[in-house]
Amino acid sequence: MTMNEKRRDLIQKFAALGSLSVLITVFALTSHAFFTTTNALTVALQVCTIAYLGLGMTVVIITAGIDLSVGSVLALGGTMAAVLIKGGMPVWAGMLVGLLLGCLAGLLNGLLVAQLRLPPFIATLGMMGVARGVILQITGGRAIAGMNQDFGVLGNGALFKRVTIGADGYPDIKFVGIPYPVIVMAVLAVVMSVVLSRTRFGRHVYATGSNHEAARLSGVNVYRITLSAYVVSGFFAGLTGIVLMSRLVTGQPNEGISYELDAIAAAVIGGASLTQGGIGTISGTIIGAFVIGILRNGLNMNGVSAFVQQIIIGVVILLTVWIDQLRGKRATRVRVFDEQKQVEHSDPPAVPSTDPVR
């Protein structure tokens, strides 16, 4: 039986996985530089931002919420870290403050949603403006440049980098190494996946999103779960900020605009539902992040203009979600093994019924 469920879980990711493999095949055929280790690592590095934000976003979306503020919060966290470090704070301490600022913003989001009962869309829309405004005000809208190279280690360093000095005296890079941000992504994705699927906290997150009232009446502390979800999202926004600024070795208060949409898109491509809580997985979101990342990278390599890229990415999001919904509908129908009326409401009568059983 467990096998059955696992298979279903796999099929659930079929739409996203399918488009991912199609993309890889197409780009491998059209561009000889695409299917290389170096490019794979480049893609992974580019995907990090979306993936970090997506990890937090997934948790929030599962609770039937949304977090529009992450793009601004990452600018707040990352830039404040740069400001403090530039002002003499040790790099680790500044970055820690950046992370905590992210958590704080998330906590405020959570309070607005859980305590004041604001719709998540509105609460985080407000925070999107506030966080951006605060950091622009603090920096006067100017970038924090001339940072110490230590600040850049997290974003630019790599593990297992092998460099030899060639005969001509120039360094010869044997292996570019695994960038630290990619390692962080892999570790945190695994951690979050385990947290959501194998811990009590994760179970409560799904229960809260699936049926808030049923969870509350079952003794789940839905207030704390909601709060925690937004704090987690804020934490990942803060992390994204410091990694991104570190990569630029600059505090950039205008960074991250509209990144929240990439994160939402990644989660949605990966099967999370914006209309219904309790649905979504970390593995799906990571796949979604790679779909977006590979698409950008591959299209770039094929010389497709940035404008056309936007069109294509938009269409891919629509297609993936559409396929996913078709599949969802069919799966629901097949599993109606009993006589009762539980599933009707998910089958709007306007859709011509294609009976899978015949």
Binding site: M1, T2, N4, E5, R198, T199, R200, F201, R203, H204, Y206, A207, S210, N211, E213, A214, A215, R216, L217, S218, G219, V220, N221, Q276, G278, I279, T332, V334, R335, V336, F337, D338, E339, Q340, K341, Q342, V343, E344, H345, S346, D347, P349, P352, S353, D355, V357, R358
Partner: protein, 521 residues
């Protein structure tokens, strides 16, 4: 294409056909429907005459709803023939069936709450004058339909201001506006009060007199005699018998449903009330909802909460459970005064509350059966560092699937895909998995078949015998009489009486529930 043309042709010739048409309005022969792994209908027959109310009864999973969905065009049969007015029909779609005059009134009503009665009746078919809705005609047409139903409703009233019973009338009026000749009603009385049920029966008798054929699905066998002409019993996807209602006894019907004779609908009570008090409630008040509610619950006793819908039964239970706030009053649990502020608190004190609204408040429909069973007690399957112990969860789920005879292909089944009765059992399992000292069971047997009801009753008795406090909130008076030791009767937010069930009667409880009699508490 051709089917819808046929449907039009038929509706045009409907009038003169009625004179010569056979007695059977609708006739089904040898209907087979398979779902993966399940034979839902194994070749059943079913007939509906013009101007009759035909009850279709059977336990959960007997195939009633599947057959009705086939008639209504929601699903297609694998084999079998459907005849409407003697003509073979095959409905590929709900709209085709609708056009042919078949209407399905679902248990859960689907109306647009912010639109008016008339707007709902003629939704998407509004009479137009040029580009605008012709409001005058809209309301006039609606009034005609409502009069035909003998319902006193203003066409302009917003649907959200109506009671459930009135909303149901709107649904029926909508069906009539589509010239429905076959009306399928699925558990129409499940959320109605006694007087509303009387009204509903008057209305559907009026429809019967107009020649409409009505299929009436209900688990409440007791009310069938008030309205039904014929009854058909299904069991395990098979047709067991069809009989004139006058020629069959209730016991025979139940016997046919379960395939054996149930000697009793209620088990013999084994527990005996003692003097020890589990729960003492004094002057509990929630402003505007209920006032000055006092009662106690003794060890070994099953205490009933009776009263009409909205009398405050559920509200009092929810308040004690911490789901809603209270304004004043005290609650003592095992002699200790307790302050319960949230369900979380209540559960820690060993109180369980099984909600009457299983979909809204009981289940996480998108989650697996196993996760729902452990939802109120995830701690019990959580190991160190907050990690879930899946083996324990599987064991717990398997235990209750077996104990409660939950019909599911797997404990990992998504709860949404279970039948209503089995969903209810999952909610019960959830609270059984949490060892509680005080249980509030709010309408635990609603929508559940006879066999499962008995199992739940036996469970309640066993709990009481074990010293667990049991409060049974129910709208069904036979349940009060059959199961409880004492009953607290509510009327408009107040307790009108606490009666010894053994010395009371259905009539007396109704008197108290209607507020015609009170005993100073």
């Amino acid at each position: 294409m051709s089917t819808s043309q046929a449907a039009q042709a038929e509706s045009r010739s409907g009038a003169h056909q009625a004179a010569t048409a056979p007695l059977e309005l609708l006739s089904l022969r040898g209907i087979v429907k398979r779902f993966p792994g399940v034979l839902a209908l194994a070749g059943v027959d079913f007939d509906l005459r013009r101007g009759e109310i035909h009850a279709l009864v059977g336990e959960n999973g007997a195939g009633k709803s599947t057959l009705m969905k086939i008639i209504a065009g929601m699903i297609q049969p694998d084999e079998g023939v459907i005849r409407l007015d003697g003509q073979v029909r095959r409905f590929q779609h709900v709209l085709e069936a609708q056009e042919a005059g078949i209407a399905f009134i679902h248990q859960e009503l689907c109306l647009a709450p912010h639109l008016s009665v008339a707007e709902n009746i003629f939704l998407a078919r509004e009479p137009m004058r040029g580009p605008f809705v012709d409001r005058t005609r809209l309301n006039a047409d609606a009034r005609v339909l409502l009069e035909r139903l003998r319902v006193d409703l203003s066409p302009g009233a917003p649907v959200k201001s109506l009671s459930v019973a009135q909303q149901q009338m709107v649904e029926i009026a909508k069906a009539l506006s589509l010239n429905a000749r076959v009306l399928i009603m699925d558990e129409p009385t499940s959320s109605l009060t006694e007087s509303e049920i009387d009204q509903l029966f008057l209305n559907i008798r009026a429809l019967r007199a107009q020649g409409v054929g009505i299929v009436y699905i209900s688990h409440r066998l007791g009310e069938l005699q008030r309205v039904v002409d014929r009854v058909t019993v299904f069991r395990d996807g098979k047709h067991v018998r069809t009989s004139d209602f006058a020629a069959i006894t209730l016991d025979e019907i139940i016997g046919a449903m379960v395939g054996r004779t149930l000697d009793q609908k209620f088990p013999r009570r084994t527990s005996r009330p003692t003097d020890e008090r589990i729960l003492e409630v004094q002057g509990l008040t929630r402003e505007g909802v209920f006032k000055d509610v006092s009662f106690d619950l003794r060890r070994g006793e099953i205490l009933g909460f009776a009263g009409l819908m909205g009398a405050g039964r559920t509200e009092v239970a929810r308040a004690i459970f911490g789901a809603d706030p209270t304004s004043s009053g005290t609650v003592r649990l095992f002699g200790q005064k307790v302050h319960i502020r949230s369900p979380h608190d209540a559960i820690r004190h060993g109180i369980a509350y099984l909600s009457e609204d299983r979909k809204g408040h009981g289940l996480a429909l998108e989650m697996q059966l196993s996760a729902n069973v452990t939802m109120a007690n995830v701690d019990a399957v959580t190991g160190r560092l907050g990690f879930l112990r899946f083996a324990d969860e599987v064991a717990a789920a398997e235990k209750y699937v077996k104990a409660l005879d939950i019909k599911t292909p797997s404990i990992f089944q998504i709860v949404k895909n279970l039948s209503g009765g089995n969903q209810q059992k999952v909610v019960i399992a959830k609270w059984l998995f949490r060892d509680s000292r005080l249980l509030f069971f709010d309408e635990p047997t609603r929508g559940i078949d006879v066999g499962a009801k008995l199992a739940i009753y036996q469970m309640l008795d066993r709990f009481a015998a074990q010293g667990i406090g049991v409060v049974l909130i129910t709208s069904e008076l036979p349940e009060v009489l059959g199961m409880t030791d004492r009953v607290v009767v509510f009327h408009e937010g107040r307790v009108t009486g606490v009666l010894e069930t053994g010395r009371s009667s259905q009539e007396e409880i109704i008197q108290f529930a209607a507020g015609r009699k009170t005993v100073a508490a």
